[in-house]
Symmetry: C2
Subunit: 430 residues, 2 copies
Amino acid sequence: MATIDLQEMGARAKQAARSLARATTEHKNKALQDLADSLLRSKDEILAANSEDIASAKARNVQPYFVDRLTLNEGRLQTIADDVRSVAALPDPVGEQFEHTVLPNGLKLHKRRVPLGVLGVIYEARPNVTIDITALSIKSGNAAILRGGSETIHSNRALVGVIHEVLRANGLPVDCIAFIDSPDRAMINELLRLHDYVDLIIPRGGAALHKLCRENSNIPVITGGIGINHYYVDATVDQARAVEVIYNAKVQRPTVCNALGTLLLQRQVADEFLPKVIARLSQADVSYKCDESSYQIAQRAFVVPDGGRTWRIERAGEADFDIEWLSLILSVKVVDSIDEAMAHIAQHGTGHSDGILSQDPANIARFLNEVDSAAVYANASTRFTDGGQFGLGAEVAVSTQRVHARGPMGLRELTTYKWVAEGDGHIRPG
Amino acid sequence: MATIDLQEMGARAKQAARSLARATTEHKNKALQDLADSLLRSKDEILAANSEDIASAKARNVQPYFVDRLTLNEGRLQTIADDVRSVAALPDPVGEQFEHTVLPNGLKLHKRRVPLGVLGVIYEARPNVTIDITALSIKSGNAAILRGGSETIHSNRALVGVIHEVLRANGLPVDCIAFIDSPDRAMINELLRLHDYVDLIIPRGGAALHKLCRENSNIPVITGGIGINHYYVDATVDQARAVEVIYNAKVQRPTVCNALGTLLLQRQVADEFLPKVIARLSQADVSYKCDESSYQIAQRAFVVPDGGRTWRIERAGEADFDIEWLSLILSVKVVDSIDEAMAHIAQHGTGHSDGILSQDPANIARFLNEVDSAAVYANASTRFTDGGQFGLGAEVAVSTQRVHARGPMGLRELTTYKWVAEGDGHIRPG
């Protein structure tokens, strides 16, 4: 493997980005359709490369979930290709004109959407992300420098080979998808300092990766993906529906960042409502970390209901409310008021997705106004915080930082704008 | 002076921001009107503090322009108070609802504008910025931590005293405008790492300050304020109007970032047009840095026209095209085509403000589309790149970075949004 000169790679990506920014929607879509075709046509070589990665992972005795994540097969390749076609079908944000005005002096002004430029994407051992980000980058007119997990380097090399072939065949610059073909972690730090060429860093992975990027980058970083999410349940709640919302938010996919973390129960309703929650969630083997009040209630509701299986209840320490469980554990706390609930969320939340389950319009209005998370919910599952669910078509990341974009980020969030002013010899008065 | 605990200051500012975010528009406006009144009422103590700063600056034999910048007087204080009232009169962006949709499943979704949170503002020896930023922060519902130039510490201390008095009298949290009352530059670096509490760093100053912030911060930074700005002039140009636009862009205020830097002349028009430019600009003592072709033309047009004073012409080295002159120097280059012009801009520009002077719709369209600067112009002065001129009412900064906001930033650019989802027991299908 040749030494990688990231400065050179960055300069070429920036140059390629200028040309990709001018590509027509049809041209980009054609390349994406060809990419979908080529992935399926090249499946033998891709799966052969992937099996090398699988073999080395197994040789290192990694966890089965890790092997599963990096594994490709015909079905998954088909899904990946389908996703590329879906991106091709989305509207192209580039070139959109908005906020037209004519200033009092007659100068015509509007904003025009343009690509961000060059994305630096750092991700873990998931080869599907290589294609996913490539499709989103091409469609939004951005170049990308990819640094995937070293455990999938053979798969990524094969995938990038296909991508470059397709770009070349479509007359698009190969450098617009650059790949750091090296397991050297020092390259990550170098990429994070490539300010002259890279416009945005997108980490796709856990909290540690996000922190690494934020601490070491001189480029803006989209951080997110950490969710300690809350429901506040007040005395007016529609209990039957609320139980189903809680079940959905906690159980449907407990390992993701929009799953439920903590239930905050108003004291008046806790006695009646918590046993109903436990009865429903016992069907999914949920365990509980309870503050003292909710622990007492849960203890009294000790009968495992019909059809329920197991339910373990432990006393929560204060620190438990700061843990993103990513599993079938639910924290529970009894609060006296919506104010106490919102103060708890401000202190322990991660600003991802928080909701209220209530039929009281005043409480709902206060909660939606005052709780400052990327997504706030009234009487709906936090599981909706997702680009696909929110109608963005595809998702680059879920941002929990406040600058640039917040919550699910789609193609449009990979763009910026320029001001376009059209005059007729207009000069600024002194 | 007590030791300053920035962690503590950050935590209090964050807490204050939560409460300021909920303040009504009327409440914030009332505080701003009171601030304007109090500034004028407290003029004696403010000017006394300011004269201490003036005296120490003079004792250190600094440049006169530096003393001028930090000087307050009754007239300037009146202007500052008027500006505060103007901010009070602007629309409040907080709480704006937009992009309402109803998803196919009936879930109601919209975005709601909320303050960014806590701003960290680092600026030079200009006491007016203390009030300017305070007004913009309060109006947009943001807390701010201010670190002004140490040469104006007495003035800033007096101004912040007035601000705190007004906040207190209006029942707003004093901590929402925090002031780092220390000349210690290590405090700047500490502020730049206050990620847990500060949401955005806004440097107000020269290129060195912007670089310092970008290189040392783990918080997003708005960089900007550097402008090497170009006009491309093609053969179809309306020469009489174009000369006036160039005069305005170069001469009106040569020390600011939206002034003209470089003229790129298409070869067919250079011979006829450059002498007209020189004739007009000689009325303002403009000097020229010319590439070889334009140097030859300028030499031939050696007659100082009636009413003109001086005009010096020198050969430009390649590096001259990368200098932001901030003075009455104009770089000139002859190019063969719009492509050569746009390549020059991509290489030497700073992405601030660039324009085309032309009557050819095809060239205009290409230039406005392909030149990727914060503001692009057809037949108008680059001097319009300004929050006031663009109708934003006030300006926090002119961003030349691509993330979050680009070009002039007003109140709205000091906000972010949250997604608000209202359902009726909506759950995500499996």
